[in-house]
């Protein structure tokens, strides 16, 4: 069976109480579901002997600016066994700007999630070390949000003391 049908079917079989939506664009499989389920789904995808998504390549977020669910957190994971990439998406709203961490599943998620927090201000529940990664600790804004101006905000970064 084609992998693009096999993976969603397997997910529905094993975790029947979660609603999965799948989408194939440019030969890439994307699976969308509710953000509460991110941890169990990732754990299953990593540990299932037929899937083995051992490598978490990337975690990022998209700011849709004017949508109801303002952010989408995007995970790209790779299975060495099936030689295939899978994209997971969870919507996060600005009023409840939180999602569970997947650091316990892939340790590499630590810095990816710190970057998302730094750039978009999405908090990750139970993250072991949720600090800003690029910007200084005292910085108040989240630069990759669409309402942050390209030229920056004057005075938001202090110059070093002489």
């Amino acid at each position: 069976m084609d992998l693009k049908e096999f993976i969603p079917q397997k997910l529905r079989e094993k975790i029947p109480d979660i609603l999965f939506k799948e989408n194939v664009y440019r030969d890439e499989l994307t699976i969308t579901f509710d953000k509460q389920n991110i941890q169990p789904v990732c754990k299953f995808l990593k540990e299932d002997p037929e899937l083995e998504f051992l490598l978490c390549e990337d975690i990022t977020a998209v700011d849709w600016a004017k949508r109801t669910n303002r952010f989408t957190v995007v995970y790209h994971i790779f299975s060495l066994k099936l030689k295939t990439r899978l994209c997971l998406k969870c919507d996060v709203d600005e009023s409840d700007c939180k999602i569970d961490t997947v650091t316990s599943v892939w340790r590499t998620a630590n810095w990816h999630e710190r970057e998302v927090f730094d750039m978009y201000g999405i908090r990750f529940n139970n993250h072991p070390d949720l600090r800003r990664i690029y910007m200084p600790e005292y910085f108040e804004y989240h630069p990759l949000r669409k309402d942050f101006p390209l030229m920056g905000i004057p005075g938001s970064l202090s110059l070093p003391k002489k």
């Binding site: 664009y25 490598l55 790209h76 340790r107 390209l150």
Partner: protein
Amino acid sequence: MERIIKDEVPTEILKALFQVDSTVQIDDVLENEMVLNMGPQHPATHGVLRLLLRLDGETVIACVPEVGYLHRGYEKMAENMTYYEYIPHTDRLDYLAPLSNNVGWVLAVEKLAGIEAPPRAQYIRMLIAELSRIASHLVAIGALAMDVGALTVFLWTLREREKILDIWDILCGARFTNTYTRIGGVANDIQPEAIAKAKWFIDQFDPNLEECEKLINTNKIFIKRLEGIGIASREDALSLGLTGPNLRASGVEFDLRRATPYLCYNDIDFNIPVYTEGDSLARYFVRVDEARESAKIAKQVLEKMPQGETLANNPKRVLPKKTEIYTKMEELIHDFMIVNFGINPPVGDIYSAIENPKGELGFYLVSNGEGHPWKCKIRSPSFINIQSLPLLITGHMVSDVVAIIGSIDPVMGEADK
């Protein structure tokens, strides 16, 4: 060394020592932990990487890497410029292999916009990607040797790298920030002189690399400084998301050129060097072997390179040739539209990754149908490789920190984006 207590120091010396008001107390340093700040300006951190080390004597018991000193906001900038305008910026990510980044970016944009480059352009891209892999690994090998005290290797590997830069010079007129690829192809066809020079380089590369290897491979100091230092087990390496040579040194045979073939890597015969030790020495060996394999690939690419166009025929998305812009109306209009409004890929999002010298370089692009990307995420390998430093460094001596950073081979331009 014996412990000195206050009573043992002659009073005259003590007086001289404490002439200036100070809160320093003479104490046994080996009994106290201390925090050592390394970087961001430090010759051995390969850029502006800052490490905070908690030391017990000379042993590192904890390490916190700090990045962001070179953060230029390339992801934000990408959202405010067209896909074409962004090509020169990719040069500045991994500045030791700019052409490889160029290839990664245009492949991502082509996937998003549904363009396919003609075969000759794809072969040229493979050639430049492999040669820049060699160029990048030569710096990595040389710098690692220099970090552990062998300066000659650095000079010799840079001599080899210089020859590759000469090829770039002929190919696109620039030695470092090349900006050679274009969406749908490459800027210009490869010149016969560049091909001749590349052929000459590949023929003389193997013996020269061997010469460099002979300097260090049997050198006791070099081996002792690297063997068993900074071990990442297979599970750790995968869990920490290491990619590229660092992952293959830990016994995982994962190479995107094989796992998700792009360009024409399917037609090429090459091996993926894998070592199982996972220590700094294995990472060095993987790089040397990979440089050899890349030369092999480049040789095959030169043999198999087909004739033909180097730009796709897609007037709405691909910039026309300069001579045509000046002589034909249609081309002039398309050039104006592409430069001013961009190539407007259809609404959608894609992730495209290539095997860069440092690891997996991925671009996640979201298009809302306009000329500028709605979002561009750069998955930079160095950023993730640096994340593994605490695991590798903890338990080793301060002097090993330098060797481990060298063996991980981070480039801060890429890690900080």
